[in-house]
Structure formats: C-alpha cells, structure tokens
C-alpha cells in the first residue's frame, strides 16, 4: 500500500520534472533570438506607451515586425557598445543627441541619408548622416498656479537663484539626458565659468534633484515644489492625466537679451552592422514621413521638426519651431559638450 503510493508519487515527480524541462527548452527555442522573418529590432529610450501608436502603424503599413527593447539611453548605448562584433539591435532611438553622437564618434553607427530627412533643419542632423533628429522637445519651466501667481512666475532660468525660490525648484537627475543637454546649452551660450557659478547658486538655493522628469512634474502638480525645470511635454502629460491640474508653462529667457529656450531632438540612427539593414531604413523613413512623424508628435506631445506637421497642444500654450526664441545652439554642439557636463556636474545632478 505504502509502496504503491510512493511509486505514484515518484512518477508524478518525474512527470513534473519532464514538463519543466520541456517548458524551459520550448521557451529557449521560441525566444526572439531564434526567430526569423521580416523584422527589425528597435532599441528605444522613449517612453513605450507614447511610441506604440507609431510602431503599430509601421507594422501595419510594412508588415515588418518590430521587436522593442525599452531602456534608458545610457543602458542601450552600452548594449550597442558590447554588441560591437555581433549587433542584436537595428535602430537606436535616443532621447537627445548626446549619447547618439558619442556612439557615432565610437564608430558604432551606420550612416543613412534618408530621402525624407531633407526637410529636417540642418541643425538637427549629423553631418555624415549617422543620425537624424525626428521630433523636438523644448526645455521649459512649469509652475504650480496655487503657489505662484502668473505675474510672479520666473521668466528666466537665472531667476531661480533668487531667495523667492529657495527650496522651491526641482530638476531631474542626469539619468535624464535632457538635464545634461540643458546644462550643455548653458555652457555653449554662457561659458563654463558662468554655468558653474549658476549651478552652485542653484544648489545653494536648495535645488531639488529628483529621479526623473515624471517625478518633477508630479512634485510641481502636487505643490511639493513651486517650479520645475523640465521638458514641455511633461506639462501636456500632466494635463492629459488631470486637465484641471494647477500648472502653467513658461518659455524662459525670451527677452531681447535672453539666451532663448533650448530645443533638443529625439534622434534615430541605424546601428553599425545591424542584421536588418533594409528594414531599419524603412523604419527611419517611416518615422520621417509626415504620416508617421505625426503619430510620434501626437503620441508624445513633441514639437514637429518637419514644417508640414502641425503642433499639438497649441490651445494649451505649446509653441512650435519659429513661434518662440530658440537658443542658438546646434545638436552637435550640445552633444560635444555633454561629456564635459557629465564630468563637471555629474556628482551634483544625482537624486
């Protein structure tokens, strides 16, 4: 009696083990590394929900299946660097030009002059076509309207060192590339010494460094801080979440002597030695064609770099290229300064 029961149990155990091994083996075989067919692998540093509509439209139009790897720009660039000999990814979508330009300098990108890139202003492209800007984001200030009256709102980044804003300003850490790009813009236009001085003054004034831009917008919307230095679409995302949020947007440094508001571009590039070159080119083309580009602009509330695509959120105060004073720096200039920014300010802009 007991023996039989033992026998049954052992058999059950073996069957379980067999099933387990089978499942693991099946999983290994079915994992994407073994898949074939017409496909393209996208390493994207963009927020996944916001980029999905464009990707789905691309899949529908071309029949090319997109495998998406979402991560932070630095992490994805490290992968590309490690995969130098045998790349797994095809297209890299970065949040700003800095990391993409570093990849270009390391010889990790494959130049591609898309016929659709011609309408993108030259300051948003790499000279050798290694990468191209596809949409733009503007470095603005947002403030909590319960805590700040419109008349008192800061008009410049440089207002934020005043005692009025002590402990009331938040910015994202350097984990967000746009923070690095913003500091690079200051360095390009004001010089290293002035930028250092400004950062020290901000710090002395109790600057709050938060983990990412989502935290910055939450902190401003909740009234935890009065002002946030962030990108324009976080203002739109907050309004999308709650249209009655007590927040407003400022395009800083617009005055006649002001440096202007910097614009950064999302960049797309083909990885050197990418296994699916044709598909990768098709994806870049799609993102640059007005129909595809519009989906990115609409999904992410970015500003269009193409003249034929309309600005989203104009009714809430969002302005397109040419509708505000843009800081006069090119993406390549920013990218070249970014490593210096990391060295100088890396240890300060940590949460």
């Amino acid at each position: 009696m007991t023996t039989r029961r033992h026998g049954e149990q052992r058999w059950g155990g073996r069957k379980g083990t067999g099933l387990l091994i089978g499942a693991v083996a099946a999983g290994l075989l079915l994992s994407p590394a073994f898949a074939g067919a017409s496909e393209v692998t996208l390493y994207s540093a963009r927020k996944e929900d916001l980029i999905r509509p464009a990707i789905e439209a691309f899949q529908k139009e071309t029949g090319i299946r997109v495998t998406l790897l979402t991560g932070r720009a630095g992490e994805l660039a490290r992968r590309i660097e490690l995969e130098r000999g045998k790349p797994n990814g095809d297209v890299f979508l970065g949040t700003a030009a800095g990391i993409t330009e570093l990849l270009r300098q390391k010889g990790l990108l494959e130049p591609y002059a898309s016929p659709y890139a011609r309408e993108i202003p030259e300051e948003f492209r790499a000279a050798d076509h290694a990468w191209v800007g596809i949409t733009g984001r503007v470095r603005v200030l947002i403030y909590n309207t319960n805590r700040v009256k419109p008349a008192e709102a800061p008009e410049s980044y440089f207002d934020l060192t005043a005692p009025r804003w002590k402990g009331q300003v938040a910015v994202a850490s350097l984990g967000e590339r746009t923070t690095v790009s913003w500091l690079a813009a200051l360095m390009a236009l004001k010089g290293e010494a002035a930028t250092r001085q400004y950062v020290d003054a901000l710090r002395a004034n109790g600057l709050k460094v938060l983990k990412n831009n989502t935290e910055v917008r939450n902190a401003v919307a909740r009234g935890e801080v009065a002002v946030g230095i962030t990108n324009h679409y976080y203002y739109m995302l907050q309004l999308q979440e709650d249209p009655r949020s007590p927040i407003a947007i400022v395009y800083p440094d617009q005055g006649p002597t002001g440096m202007g508001t910097p614009v950064f571009s999302i960049t797309a590039a083909i990885i050197k030695g990418a296994p699916h070159q044709t598909e990768a080119r098709a994806l870049i083309d799609f993102l640059l064609k007005p129909a595809g580009n519009r989906l990115l602009v609409e999904g992410e509330f970015e500003i269009p770099l193409l003249p034929r695509v309309a600005v989203v959120g104009a009714d809430r105060g969002i302005r397109g290229l040419g509708q505000f004073k843009k800081a006069p720096v090119t993406q390549v200039q920013l990218a070249e300064l970014e490593p210096t920014v990391e060295r100088l300010f890396g240890s300060i802009f940590l949460p």
Partner: protein, 538 residues
C-alpha cells in the same frame, strides 16, 4: 577493477571541482570584467571624479539604513515567530500561513504603494487636508522620503526572511529545555533569554545577514524613496552615461564592503555552536499569554495588514479605476510577459536548487567546499545592477552564443539566488542523520540508490521549500533582468517598471503589480498546502 565501477562513481571526485568552477565562473567572471573596464577607462581619474560624490557620507547613510531596517525587521520577525511557534495566540495556525506572504510583494512595489499613501500630496495628506479644510500643499503629515520611508518599506517587506529562519529554529528546538529551565526556577523571561535565545542565535544571525545584505544591495526602494546609495549612483551612471570607469569602480567598492560584512558574520557565527541530539519527542505546550493576548494579537494583525493586506488592497483599488473590460484586455495582452517570467524563474530556481544540492552534499557529507558558500553569498549580495552589468560584459566577451538570450537571465537568477536555496537545502540535509544513509549502504545500496531511496524522500520538503524561495525571488527580480534581458523579452517586473517609468503608479501598473503578487503568492500557498499533505503522509 576500477573500470568496473559505474561511470558516476568514477566521476564523483570531479563533482567538487566542477561545481566550484561553475560558481566561480559565474560570480567572479562579471567582477573581473568590471575590474578590467574600471582599470581600462579612467582608473587614474577615478578618485578625482568620485571625490565630489561624497562617498563616505553615502556609505554611512547606506549603513545607517541597513542597520535601521535590520533592527525594525527583527522587532517584527522574532516576536511574530515566537507567537506562532510557542504561544497560545488565537489564530496562530492561520498566522503561520500568512506571515511569510509579505515576501510575495517585491519591495519596490511596496514602495510604490506607500508612496501613494504617505508621500507629500498622497492619500494621507489629502485626507488630513480635507478634514481640516486646508490647501493640500500645506499639509505634510509624515516625512516620507528619505531614510525613514525607505527603512519602513524595506523592513516591512524583508522581515519574513528572519521570520522563516527563526520560526523553523523554534520548531526544531526541544521544548523540554525550556521546561527544565522553568523547573530550575527561572521566570519565563529568564528562560527565554538564557535558553531559547542562545538556541536561536544562528538562525537570527543568518536572518540579520539576509536582511542587511538585501538593503545594502537594494535598488528599487531607495531609488523610489530618494535615498542616495552606492547602488543608485551606479545605476544613474549606467542609465544616463556611456562612462564605464565610475560605475565599475563603485561596483568594486560595493563588493569589497560586502566581503567585509560576510567575513564579520563568519567570525560571529563561528563562535555559536549548539548541537541538539535528537528532537523533541512531543510538541511544545503553548505558553499562555494571559493579559498580553490582546496586544499580541493586535501586533500580529497590524504587522500583516501593513506588510500584505494593505498593499494588496491599495493595488486593487488603483487597478479598479480601469473599466473591467479594458482591465481584462490589458491583462490578457501581458500573457507573454507572464510566461517569460514563469519559465525563466522556474529554470533559474531549478538550476539554483541543483547546484545548491551539490554544494550542500559536498559540505555536509564530504566536509568540503566551504569556500563555495562565501562565493555564493557574494553573488547574493551583489546588487542586481552590478551583476547585470558585469554579466553582459562577461558573456558577450567569453560566451557570445549565450549573450542576450534568456539563458543569461537564468544564469543571473542562479548567481543571485543560490544562497537562499543553499540555506534551505543545507538545513534539510543537516537534520538528516548520516546513520540512515550508512544503514542503506550497509544493506547493499549504491550511493545513487541510497540518495534516491533514503536521502531524497526525507529531504524533499526542504528541497521544495528551497526551490520555492528561489522561484519567488526569481519571479520578482528586476534590476539584473533589466540589463540582461534579450530584446523583446520582458518579464512581469520589467513591465511594471516600464509602466511606472512612463506614467507613475497608474491603474495599468497597479493591475500588473497585482498580477505579479498573485502569481507569486498562489503557488506559494498551493505548495504550502501540498507540502503539508506530503508531511502528513510520511
């Protein structure tokens, strides 16, 4: 003659070197890669660049957090274990099932939940503001961000590590010892302090080590609750820059500190040695709590509410903000990720268990391979981010065919969670008298037959426990998976992370987190019940 031996017997002397090689390769390989990258890229500049980071402060802060969390976790775990194992607390059988459940909630999800409740502008502040009719931003009831919040969350969700070990030790300890002490005229408190506590010392120390090292390596909670530690600095550099020098150097510093802690623990534990001959013949007589019954019950209920019921309820409320149809469709779309989690966790846990069994057998039956435990513990104590970074570099260089496959993800799980599996297997094997195996050998059974017919059936509950613990930990792993996963191969925790990174703790993220907790908690309960039936049958 030697040739007539079956193959496995001839190859047995190879077991120790083979196991050693696997563990050493997987643990040391990534570290060597990081050291190499650190030296190659800016070793000279390292001190210059790390200077402004204020490392002593950062390390001191992390240490403070680890100590505080450990004390808090002890204060929850030890009384709870004693109440369950030794007292006449009403409902203690139910409590025994429920108390380990906080382990099924990954601490980073716990942090999201308490952020919703306690952060400035969160539920608590809004409620208080409404009651006192003040503007929301003027109310801040608790200082949530920083060490207090992080210690609270980490303690709540790691105390079961200590609880499990202490409760098991209490079950094993012979209750007659306490009765003798009481008979000799000691008060119950004196008996606890002088008899029970020394017996619990090894379990408590192991538990302390588990929690301490967990906090030391934690990434999710501290980054959400704004405590700057070595791990968050490393991760910020990994995320935001292409720089290898700083993160590699900091990773090595972190590993060095871990080794120091391990050496200290070995030193402390080396002096504690209590061997019990035979186990308690009869179950312990429950200690009557008397007037302490109500406070004890309140303590147990509050602990479980804060560490399990409340988080689950908050997630459910958040998820319920989605319409049922949309919710169902959303969850259905996550099936592939769920399956990814399931089979990599099962594979990782199985590999960990097999390796743990080999190591435990070498140690308990052959008296060898103790250095391997330390190696394994280094693996457990390396932050997932550091391990992931080292592993991708190591595998892409040495085993390119394995790089960016699910196999590397499982290898990562193996390194991270070999220690918990090993602890469970060793505990089971240590309780089994060698004489039983010797008797089987005398009766003519070979080594393998002895294992199959005597050892395995007796240690099966322990193996099951070890596998399950490793499985749970694999299911909820985030930091290493983020770096190790192949393109298109997301797991449930990765999806939760991507969802919260997009929009904060939104209904979708809450629903996913709830699905994750359920998929960890349900097998746990199922196997606990099955395990009880197994024990009842023997």
């Amino acid at each position: 003659m030697a040739l007539a031996l079956p193959l496995w017997r001839r190859s047995r002397p190879l077991l120790a070197p083979a196991v050693g090689a696997v563990v050493a390769l997987l643990v040391l390989g990534p570290l060597v890669f990081l050291a190499w990258m650190g030296v190659r890229e800016g070793a000279g500049e390292f001190l210059l660049r790390v200077g402004p980071l204020g490392l002593p402060t950062v390390i001191g802060r992390t240490f403070l957090l680890a100590v505080g969390t450990t004390v808090f976790a002890l204060a929850l775990a030890v009384p709870l274990a004693w109440l369950v194992a030794r007292s006449d607390l009403p409902g203690r059988r139910l409590l025994r099932w429920l108390a380990p459940l906080p382990l099924t909630i990954p601490p980073y999800i716990g942090a999201i939940v308490y952020q919703i409740l306690l952060a400035p502008g969160g539920t608590l502040d809004l409620t208080v503001a409404r009651l006192r009719s003040l503007p929301a931003h003027q109310v801040s009831v608790v200082p949530f961000y920083g060490l207090t919040g992080a210690g609270w969350v980490l303690g709540l969700f790691t105390f079961p590590y200590i609880y499990l070990l202490v409760e098991a030790a209490l079950e094993r300890a012979n209750p007659a010892l306490v009765e003798v002490a009481r008979g000799a005229g000691l008060t119950p408190w004196q008996a606890f302090r002088r008899v029970t506590l020394p017996l619990l010392r090894p379990a408590v120390l192991s538990g302390i080590l588990m929690v301490f090292l967990y906090v030391w390596a934690d990434f999710g909670v501290v980054s959400l609750l704004r405590v700057r530690t070595l791990t968050t600095i490393i991760y910020d550099y990994v995320q935001g820059t292409l720089d290898w020098g700083v993160p590699a150097g900091l990773s090595l510093i972190l590993t060095g500190i871990t080794l120091l802690v391990l050496a200290l623990q070995r030193h402390l534990l080396g002096r504690a040695g209590y061997v019990q001959i035979g186990s308690g013949a009869r179950p312990p007589r429950p200690v009557p709590l008397g007037r302490a019954r109500l406070p004890a019950l309140v303590f147990a209920v509050l602990t479980l509410t804060a560490a399990f019921l409340l988080p689950v309820a908050v997630l459910a409320v958040q998820a319920a903000r989605m319409r049922p149809a949309a919710l169902a469709a959303f969850l259905w779309a996550q099936t592939p990720y769920f399956l990814n989690s399931l089979w990599t966790a099962a594979g990782g846990a199985t590999a960990a268990l097999l390796l743990a069994l080999s190591i435990a057998w070498l140690q308990e039956r052959r008296g060898r391979g103790f250095g391997l435990s330390t190696l394994c513990q280094v693996g457990y104590a390396i932050p997932g981010t550091v391990l992931g970074l080292g592993m991708v570099g190591f595998f892409s260089g040495i085993f390119p065919w394995l790089y960016a496959t699910a196999g590397v993800v499982m290898a990562g799980y193996l390194v991270l969670f070999l220690t918990p599996a090993l602890q469970a297997v060793k505990a089971a094997l240590a309780q089994l008298p060698v004489s039983l195996e010797d008797a089987a050998r005398t009766l003519g059974r070979g080594g393998l037959a002895t294992f199959r017919e005597v050892t395995f059936p007796l240690i099966r509950p322990g193996l099951l426990g070890g596998w399950l613990l490793a499985f749970i930990l694999c299911m909820r792993e985030l930091a290493a998976t983020l770096i190790l996963r192949p393109p298109g191969f997301d797991t449930l925790p990765v999806r939760v992370w991507i969802q919260t990174m997009d929009v904060g703790p939104e209904p979708g993220a809450a629903a996913l987190a709830l699905a994750l907790v359920a998929s960890i908690a349900l097998p746990w309960l199922g196997i606990l019940l099955a395990g009880r039936r197994l024990i009842a049958m023997t």
